[in-house]
């Protein structure tokens, strides 16, 4: 069998395996969310200021909250089969539309953060490992430690104080300038301008992680037998580091990145909140407090799909990085 055919069979198999995983995630989440006291109707009525018991009963009926749990779950699963994620109680619009609206900003923040964090993490880890225990290594290690230990919200607020309030380089928050409503190329520049501080804040934490991981991984690989062999063959240090060690040392970093993409979707709540970035994390956070179950389940489902997809991509990446690993 050709390698390409083998790969596509593998992808297909993995996708089929993902179906029970996703279903299980939905079911477990559904029951977990039921544990919270109060429901969306309580919140809506509370927000509205006052409401009659009849109206609240009517709302529960409309949302299907008066049905037994198992029926509610059945209805949800049935709708899911037709790619209908239901209706958000609080936002009064289809969940799919709400989630898709937030997907772009989330991906924008996620991709730029991962790129920056992994990219610089690899470079810094490489430099640190190559200059073991001299000042470069120390500076990088201390930097990694400090940025790993600093709370994200504090970094975000300090960024705002320094770069928005004092230096006036960047806007404090939001995704675009709402006083101007730029269009076309100007809008892209405007969004990029707004993206800088959230990305820097969020990637600082992950950057530290990848730096340390890369450094450790490089050191581990450097003590392997094949490095000694390569050196005995008379290869230049440069070639040993970049062609032999680096490639092997990347494997754990890629694994880590794959795992973290999943957590980045929800894990950026703090950064989204501080910079008023309209991402999925914030949406999920608010949905939880308004007991908007359909919306929450929709977000969970999307995150689950994304994690499954990214894990698949990571596994495929392995086989490119290290041809000894075979998919199958």
């Amino acid at each position: 069998m050709s390698q390409a055919a083998q790969r596509s069979r593998y992808v297909l198999k993995r996708l089929l395996q993902a179906i029970p995983v996703v279903v299980a995630i939905v079911v477990v989440n559904f029951f977990l969310l039921q544990l919270a006291e109060g429901d969306a109707v309580d919140v809506l009525a509370g927000e509205a200021g006052s409401a009659t018991p009849e109206y609240m009963a009517q709302l529960r009926q409309k949302f299907g909250l008066d049905q037994p749990l198992i029926v509610q779950l059945g209805v949800y699963m049935k709708n899911m089969l037709t790619f209908d994620l239901g209706y958000s109680f609080r936002h009064d619009m289809p969940v799919a539309q709400l989630v898709l609206d937030r997907l772009m900003p989330t991906l924008l923040l996620m991709v730029s953060t991962i790129t920056l964090a992994v990219g610089f993490g690899i470079v810094l880890g490489l430099i640190a490992a190559s200059n073991l225990n001299n000042w470069k290594d120390n500076v990088i290690s201390v930097f990694a430690l400090v940025s790993y230990a600093t709370p994200l919200f504090w970094v975000g607020l300090m960024m705002i104080v320094v770069f928005s309030l004092k230096l006036r380089w960047f806007p404090t928050s939001g995704m675009e300038n709402v006083a101007m409503f730029y269009e076309g190329w100007d809008r892209i520049k405007d969004i990029a301008h707004h993206l800088v501080m959230p990305t820097l804040t969020l990637s600082l934490f992950y950057l530290a992680l990848y730096t340390r991981l890369m450094r450790a991984s490089m050191l581990e690989q450097a003590s392997m037998d094949y490095v000694t062999t390569a050196r005995a063959k008379g290869l230049t240090e440069r070639r040993i580091v970049f062609v032999h060690i680096l490639r092997n040392a990347l494997l754990p970093v890629v694994t880590m990145a794959g795992v973290q993409v999943g957590s980045l979707i929800g894990g950026s709540v703090i950064v989204e909140s501080v910079f008023a970035w309209p991402g999925l994390g914030m949406l999920a956070f608010e949905a939880l407090f308004s007991r908007d179950l359909n919306l929450l389940l929709g977000i969970f489902l999307l995150s689950a799909l994304l994690v499954v997809a990214i894990n698949l991509v990571v596994d495929l990446l392995y086989s490119f990085l290290d041809p000894r690993i075979e998919v199958g």
Binding site: E37, L44, G46, E47, M56, R168, G174, P278, S290
Partner: protein, 541 residues
């Protein structure tokens, strides 16, 4: 000179007619004067939290009130002294018996979609929408039996009994006039209008990017000549309080009301040259911080217990130390802002400074004795989950009430859990909360004390389950009394009874803060404040 107050409008008819005419002239003068200000620019304001919808006819949720009155008009607006001023109604007249109210509507008003506005819209809005679906509408318009529309510009309200409070519930926030042609024959709660509002107001709805902003653009065909002055209003959603403060400081947003900027940051921002702070614009809202008791169970089924708590709370301390000086100690079941209406009476059991000795004596006398550890009673105090200030208040209560031997545990839950506990399950003993007392006790206070307001499962009504036939009688009488002086006497008696029984102990009249950039002018020309139309607001460049 005839003084045009709300009181005069509901009393003798000659004064009333003079007032109506004078107010109409005043309004014309105001709108022609406004033209000299600079026009243009985008006002960015904070809407926090994100509104659940843009349907002010279905929900009185605060953030809806910030945005919707820019899109919809009411029949009336209210000046800073709470006098009604013309809005969609250019003049009005209350019959001598108080049973007929005639509104003469503005000419040449159109909806944002180009359809003409007429008295049929008013009739439909009140009878078919507000009276049926608005949270407070059934109360505000309960005496309205029918509305006649003899012509397109006249709406005649026929009342069962006089309803003096109704004249204060006609603002764009409280009773927005909505388009009949977009709601008739539809399920009002389901109609598309809730996410895509079409009004007669100064600004048109353009788009709502969830989680980011709501954009409103100038209504070029607004019926008030030369208004609005702004080209655009954008309501931004910024979840984090520190970021809201930073955005205000950097000039990215111009306006934040209802505590959008926390008091702790306001005391810093108010020192800056380009930032202003005001407590104006909340006189129609009248928020009151308070404690609700479960009056059916020990320990707070005891009147002495509730009185002792009211006597030993240091209200000024709370205001000075937790709310940074913004607020006014409560002195009665009703806000002192009702004073211009003649409805406010200071009462007993609301001492200016705490009297712990008297409170202890009262409890001893009532036979509620302390045990060996000095504890008379233990209870869990629930705190409204609307921010850190309320936690601080809980901490103060724990400490202060220990002095009268009441041992309190704090409980701070999330909003749905808390609402369910207090209003659906009645599973609490004392609950710190705040209520809007609104422009009239019939609308804002009655729901807290009436026996008919014990409505299990409905938030922000009588959770104490206090029931007193005398109180019910007074509430009913006060609602229909057309004579202002007699009405004042009824409510004075009511306040004295409530001060004695104290099912609810009021803590302090809250002062919400509006923080604004000094470039923004004329943002609070009416008592509606942030819930106003902003048609005369302008930006100075």
């Amino acid at each position: 000179m005839v003084r045009c107050t709300l009181k005069s409008l509901t009393s003798e008819s000659l004064v009333k007619k003079l007032c109506t005419a004078a107010l109409a002239i005043a309004a014309v003068a105001v709108s022609s004067q406004a033209i000299s200000q600079n026009a243009g620019g985008t006002l960015v304001m904070i809407a926090q939290p994100e509104p659940p919808s843009l349907a002010p006819y279905l929900s009185t949720s605060g953030p809806i009130g910030l945005v919707a009155p820019k899109i919809y008009n009411g029949l009336l607006d209210y000046d800073l002294d709470l006098n009604p001023v013309p809005e969609l109604a250019e003049s009005w007249e209350v019959s001598d018996d108080g049973l007929t109210v005639t509104f003469n509507l503005q000419e040449g008003v159109t909806w944002h979609d180009g359809e003409p506005f007429s008295s049929a819209d008013v009739q439909f809005t009140i009878m078919e929408v507000l009276k049926k679906f608005h949270p407070r509408g059934p109360n505000s318009f309960r005496e309205v039996s029918s509305i006649d529309t003899p012509d397109a510009l006249t709406a005649i309200f026929n009342l069962e009994r006089p309803a003096p409070y109704m004249m204060r519930a006609l603002s764009a926030y409280e009773s927005p006039i909505v388009p009949k042609h977009l709601l008739e024959g539809k399920d009002v709660r389901e109609a598309e209008l809730s996410g895509n509002p079409v009004g007669t107001g100064p600004f048109k709805f353009v788009e709502w990017k969830k989680g980011q902003y709501i954009r409103l653009d100038k209504n070029e065909n607004y019926w008030k000549e030369g208004l609005p002055l702004l080209d655009r209003i954008v309501a931004r959603i910024i979840p984090d309080a520190s970021t809201r403060t930073a955005a205000m400081e950097s000039g990215e947003v111009h306006y934040g009301a209802f505590g959008a900027i926390p008091n702790i940051d306001v005391i810093r921002l108010r020192e800056l040259d380009d930032i202003g702070v005001t407590t104006d614009g909340y006189a129609m809202i009248n928020p009151m911080a308070l404690i609700e008791f479960d009056t059916t169970q020990p320990p707070f089924d005891s009147k002495a217990m509730r009185q002792a708590i009211s006597m030993s709370v240091d209200r000024q301390f709370l205001i000075d130390n937790i709310w940074f000086g913004y607020g006014k100690p409560a002195t009665s079941a009703m806000t002192s802002n009702y004073e211009p209406l003649g409805l406010y009476t200071p009462t007993a059991n609301y001492p200016a400074s705490p009297d712990v000795a008297a409170a202890n004596a009262l409890l001893d006398e009532a036979g509620i004795k302390p045990d060996a550890d000095g504890v008379r009673a233990t209870a869990v105090i629930d705190l409204i989950p609307y921010g850190e200030d309320w936690r601080r208040l809980g901490e103060y209560m724990k400490q202060a009430m220990a002095e009268i031997g009441v041992k309190l545990e704090l409980r701070y839950e999330d909003v749905p859990t808390w609402l369910k506990r207090v209003y659906a399950d009645y599973d609490f003993s004392l609950n710190v909360n705040y209520f809007y007392q609104l422009p009239d006790p019939v609308i804002g206070v009655q729901r807290h004390y009436g026996t008919d307001q014990i409505r299990q499962g409905t938030p922000f009504v009588n959770s104490t389950r206090y029931s007193n036939p005398k109180v019910d009688e007074l509430l009913a009488a006060g609602a229909v009394e057309a004579d202002a002086d007699k009405r004042g006497e009824i409510y004075a008696e009511l306040q004295n009874i409530l001060a004695e029984d104290l099912p609810v102990v009021n803590l302090f009249e809250m002062e919400f803060l509006t923080v604004y950039n000094e470039k923004l002018k004329d943002h609070t020309p009416s008592a509606m404040g942030a819930y106003g139309s902003f048609d005369r607001a302008w930006l100075d460049n």
